[in-house]
């Protein structure tokens, strides 16, 4: 989805023009162009792709309905008519299928869950009960929302929005009966602002722009007080003290984020030995040293330390958020590293957890196995680096890794991850083609084509599916059409193992020569450098064609074990590819 060109069709049974204006005018990125569909024509619009509103270039849609209008059974429940749960849920299923049909026309559909105005309380507790032929309205609404979520769960394009939170946040001002009666606008500007902010957070997540690394200070950020002065026994953390408990809560919230794939790092002005001992030895620490992908604990400038840590973790500055209690340190980092997000942080330590949860920086369309284990991968990488620094030579280090590269054709066990990798790898990418899962499978199955997925593992851990390469043979000539590898495993000889598999395939089909044509992009210079070195051709920075003749073998590096897999099933501990 092109984040710079979002055009959202707003489909609603209430006046929603102001949401459109906020989406367009808000300072929050991305800017969203909004088109308002005809008022209160939701079902007709969802059903009919021929309507003009679908032909105005929208690549996203929002479907925001009132429960009593979208689901007639719910209107009848509010009127105290007899409705069975089956009738109610059948209508929800029908509505969900309309949304799924509409999702085929755009790249993303946003659906706020159904709510009732806060002032509506019906008959109190009875609204939560059910008896034969009658369901309480609040109970019905919960069932409807749960059913809708269940029916839409399988779609990667449909994004449900927690409208109840917007209502709670706006409080009694969320709705105004007079505004509804006079303008048919059901919700206040406060609600629309929250809705726009959530929609934009999801759009950033879809575009891969959610934050990946939280860099944390230690003293008065992860615990109360200065560990260098008081020792870890003297800092405020946990226990039966409101401030200590608030730091423990904050750490629990951070750990929760870490468990969804957000990486934690430390940049602190402290004595490293003292600070690390505090992390390891203080029994009240919720976060352990294994929860941090890396740290810089010293007396140097924090901006420099963050820059170094980002390089170590191979992350761009725009994927980092820096949290520090000290406004001067925050200002320094803001000024020196403008792409790093530095949120204003409350002076009141008991508000840290609330401040963290309020950040709309970590939205992602889904959480993968790799996300959940990302920190562990960084810890393993740290161990590899330590092994590298203790090795005498590069060859010794590569040999010590015990690299295993498994190559396999595309199939049901790897196509999802292969497509993700194919469409987001930039640096080591020969041609930067972009294709859907179906297109990749179809291409790989064509005669004289080979498209392999590569899994890489070493003695420290499994990198998962991290490479993809393809070759096309036409008579005696073969062409490498795709060659891409995650930056996590670049420079370890995996590239050469990949090339071996392509050249072997081409040779077996009778090719005499295989050519790789490099197509320059903004970020794929590392790929050019690799092919320039590997081809054995005279070094020429301007060269875009590299070739190998098949009158001789192209050996796999000695430090790599190359294994052929089937691609039929993903390994139990499969890791999805990371952004590269």
């Amino acid at each position: 989805m092109d984040i710079k060109n979002i055009h959202c069709l707003l489909i609603a049974d209430h006046t929603i023009d102001q949401l459109g204006a906020i989406l367009k005018s808000s300072d929050d990125s991305p800017t969203v162009k909004a088109t308002i569909a005809h008022f209160d024509q939701v079902q007709q619009i969802l059903m009919n792709p021929a309507l003009s509103c679908w032909k105005e270039g929208a690549n996203a849609a929002l479907v925001w309905t009132r429960p009593e209008r979208a689901i007639d059974a719910f209107r009848r429940i509010l009127s105290r008519e007899r409705v069975t749960q089956e009738e109610l849920l059948a209508e929800v299923d029908e509505f969900a299928s309309l949304i799924l049909r509409a999702s085929e026309r755009v790249e993303a559909v946003f659906v706020p869950l159904w709510t009732m105005p806060a002032w509506w309380r019906g008959t109190g507790g009875l609204e939560l009960k059910s008896r034969p032929g009658a369901i309480g309205a609040v109970r019905a609404l919960m069932l409807m929302n749960a059913r809708l979520a269940e029916k839409l769960e399988a779609s990667s394009k449909v994004h449900l929005l927690d409208a109840a939170r917007w209502m709670a946040s706006a409080g009694k001002n969320a709705t105004n009966p007079k505004l509804w009666l006079m303008t048919k606008a059901l919700y206040s500007l406060e609600v629309f602002k929250d809705a726009a902010a959530d929609i934009k957070a999801i759009l950033r997540g879809i575009a891969g722009l959610s934050k990946k690394l939280i860099v944390l200070d230690l003293d008065d950020t992860l615990w109360g007080g200065v560990v260098g002065e008081n020792g870890w026994e003297g800092v405020a953390l946990g226990g039966h003290d409101p401030v200590g408990e608030s730091f423990a809560d904050f750490q629990r919230a951070l750990k929760g984020l870490k468990n969804t794939g957000v990486i934690l790092g430390i940049v602190s002005k402290n004595d490293e030995k003292t600070a690390v001992a505090a992390i390891r030895e203080n029994p009240e620490m919720v976060l352990k040293d294994s929860d941090f992908a890396g740290w810089r604990i010293n007396w140097l400038d924090k901006a420099t330390n963050i820059k170094e840590l980002a390089e170590e973790l191979n992350l761009g500055h725009d994927s980092i958020i820096f949290i520090d209690d000290n406004p001067a340190e925050r200002a320094r980092v803001k000024e020196s590293l403008p792409l790093v997000t530095v949120p204003d942080w409350p002076a009141d330590k008991m508000l840290y957890t609330q401040a963290l949860h309020a950040l709309r920086l970590f939205d992602r369309p889904s959480v993968t196995d790799e996300d959940m284990g990302r920190t562990e991968m960084y810890v393993a990488e740290r161990q590899r680096t330590e092994a590298k620094s203790s090795s005498v030579s590069m060859e010794d280090w590569l040999a010590s890794l015990q690299l295993k590269v498994t190559y396999e054709p595309l199939g049901p066990g790897n196509i999802k991850r292969a497509a993700q990798l194919f469409n987001k790898t930039n640096q080591m990418n020969l041609t930067t083609r972009r294709m859907t899962e179906a297109e990749l499978l179809a291409w790989g199955q064509e005669k004289n084509h080979a498209m392999y997925a590569y899994r890489v593992a070493d003695r420290f851990g499994d990198y998962g599916l991290t490479g993809l390469a393809a070759v096309e043979v036409n008579g005696s000539e073969a062409t490498v059409t795709d060659f891409l590898l995650s930056c996590r495993v670049m420079g370890r000889g995996v590239e050469k193992g990949m090339l071996t598999t392509l050249l072997d395939f081409a040779k077996k089909l009778g090719a005499k020569k295989t050519t790789a044509k490099y197509i320059e992009s903004k970020r794929n210079k590392p790929c050019h450098d690799y092919f320039k070195d590997e081809s054995g051709l005279p070094k020429n920075d301007a060269a875009t064609e590299f070739w190998w003749t098949h009158d001789q073998d192209f050996p796999t590096p000695a430090h790599i074990t190359l294994v052929q897999g089937t691609g039929a099933e993903a390994p139990a501990d499969e890791k999805e590819p990371a952004h590269a």
Binding site: A21, I22, K24, S26, T183
Partner: protein, 97 residues
Amino acid sequence: MASKQQITDAIYNAIDEVNAAQGSENQIAKDPKAILFGQGGKLDSLGLLTFVLQVEQRIQSAGHPSFTLTDEKAMADTATAFRTVDTLSDYILSRLA
């Protein structure tokens, strides 16, 4: 809520709120002379009603729960009362008196 300044502050507060949906070219200035309604005004009918209800809510929350700007009298006085921030402040002051 007795002074004109307090009423003007409530109006400015409501302006902040509605400006979020006004787009950069249609921002309403927080100025006594800022035009709210009629020629030169930047609010459409939905924007004006939203703004009026925002002001009404703020006056109500400031200790005048029965105050309304959407009754027949106020609607009849719209052209003059809602012309600028200043005229609206005066109008609210007169209704509270």
